[in-house]
Symmetry: C2
Subunit: 305 residues, 2 copies
């Protein structure tokens, strides 16, 4: 086989309390990438979407990720990518991770699956680094592995999949720009030990909530006292959004990655639909363009189409 097309899903990083360690794979929205083995050296990129992303390989997330793959194999000279992105760059739901993870999984398939998941994550992280200036795998890991992932360690890479009960995620993406690097700069270097203890109580309890199928515990544990108070200032009407969602029955929620998307976790489809409406109502009164999604958890990550 010389050509494959993959579906590369959006992801939610941090999951409220799990800053820099937790992530989750969504079914909606997702990108499509067609990757082919090329007879020429390097990576060529053709964009089908209107996001005007760079087509020079070392300036493009997909390009950088596949250059990293090429550095580790002599089986092929190059790849051609046809990119059809639907996850808006800068939305905070893992657009760059979908790009990097998508093409890396596709390329590995074309190479006969010679690389294991840790290696794929490593290659994809090169792409993520171009986009965000950091090598955080909290979007990449769930994009590749699917489900909910916990990153215990980056070096060596140690990623744990966490099962969970059925959950619905409502995402509202306000179309404003927040750069990941800026969202990182405003965080403090140090935090109170007492705050840290509360945060690790919540992350631990959230894992217990997922694994014990305890919706109430999931809801109680979705509390972030470290990052949310600072980053939420960057998102217009954040508190109103969150309060409206909670009043409509959401278990909890917060900022997706470094924002601007806000996500809310719900027990069932009906509640999710009410929560979506309540969030839409808040933003309908503003001049900010926005988009909403409802998604369940995607257990598979990037898949061939």
């Amino acid at each position: 086989m010389n050509t494959v097309t993959v579906k590369a899903p959006a992801t939610i990083a941090n999951l409220v309390c799990g800053f820099d360690i937790m992530g989750l794979c969504l079914n909606e929205p997702f990108d499509e990438f067609t990757v082919s083995i090329s007879k020429t050296v390097g990576v060529s990129i053709t964009n089908l979407d209107n996001f005007n992303l760079p087509t020079i390989a070392n300036q493009n997330v997909c390009g950088v990720a596949l250059l990293s793959v090429l550095k580790n194999t002599t089986l092929v000279k190059g790849f051609d990518i046809i990119s059809n992105k639907k996850i808006m760059p800068g939305s905070g739901i893992g657009s760059s991770a979908a790009s990097a993870a998508g093409v890396v999984v596709a390329a590995n398939y074309l190479l006969g699956n010679i690389f294991d998941q840790d290696k794929l994550i490593e290659f994809a992280l090169e792409g993520e680094f171009l986009a965000s200036g950091g090598k955080h795998a909290d979007n990449i890991a769930p994009a590749i592995l699917g489900g909910i992932t916990l990153i215990r360690s980056h070096s060596p890479i140690d990623i744990i999949k966490i099962a969970s009960p059925e959950l619905y995620f409502v995402i509202l993406h306000p179309q404003i720009e927040i750069k990941t690097s800026d969202a990182r700069k405003i965080l403090p270097q140090k935090i109170e030990l007492s705050q840290a203890i509360q945060q690790w109580a919540n992350t631990s309890a959230l894992v217990a909530g997922f694994l014990q199928n305890d919706y109430e515990l999931i809801g109680r544990s979705l509390q972030d006292i470290v990052v949310e108070p600072i980053r939420s200032r960057l998102i217009p009407y954040y508190l109103q959004l969150k309060n409206a969602a909670l009043q409509s029955g959401a278990l909890g929620g917060g900022i997706s990655g470094s924002g601007p998307s806000v996500f809310m976790v719900c027990k069932d489809k009906n509640i999710a639909s009410n929560v979506e409406q309540a969030m839409k109502n808040i933003y309908a009164t503003t001049n900010i363009k926005f988009k909403t999604y409802i998604s369940t958890i995607n257990p598979n990550g990037v898949i061939l189409m």
Copy 2:
């Protein structure tokens, strides 16, 4: 019934990375308390052991805990306690928690179990406060509930029981004095955000390890980069003890509570016995008196005898 005797077990607080939020109930060692309904007002205490603990109610952990019970009921005037402690006070394996939890559970039984577990924890915490100057439930909760407990929140109290695979705990108690309040004073008020992230990655992964019966993951997650580097200085030969235990097959381990006891987690009885011997060998070369225990997890907490 006017008299009951309870078995009140030792507990391990913190569980390495889970500072101030995790605790675990042991089968060995344990205290025995006989509590009777009294016709006179207040709490009387008789010690059968040789620890010379105060017998004035408001200066004794058991006394304070039962005075707190008496404040919340008019059913009885007072209690008599016969205390037969085997868990040495100041050992770091929840001696004061065993006292407080033991008599509170006994008194509740005599009262017809009118108080729920949260209330019992609240009463026992009054006793714990006398001993340590803090109201941390990480020993009290497992002593009352049994098993492994996670304290998501103290106010309101939110305690989660965590199932786990069979584990053996080897405890070495060096007979030196470390006051909980002193061990707390040397901790920093603030920590690096990056350290906090690593710690909540480990606490979350430890919960996943317990609930997924993953021994290797439990071992990898038993890492404390916040408290151990500071408190371990108070325990002679700490690193030697830990290294010897790890080399003998322990999954991991650390300081029990605020010390001085050190505990190591093992997958089976044989390994536990090798680990105990290795730890004994280290301390045998010193002048410090010490005691060792091997225990499995006690799923029940305080029970009637």
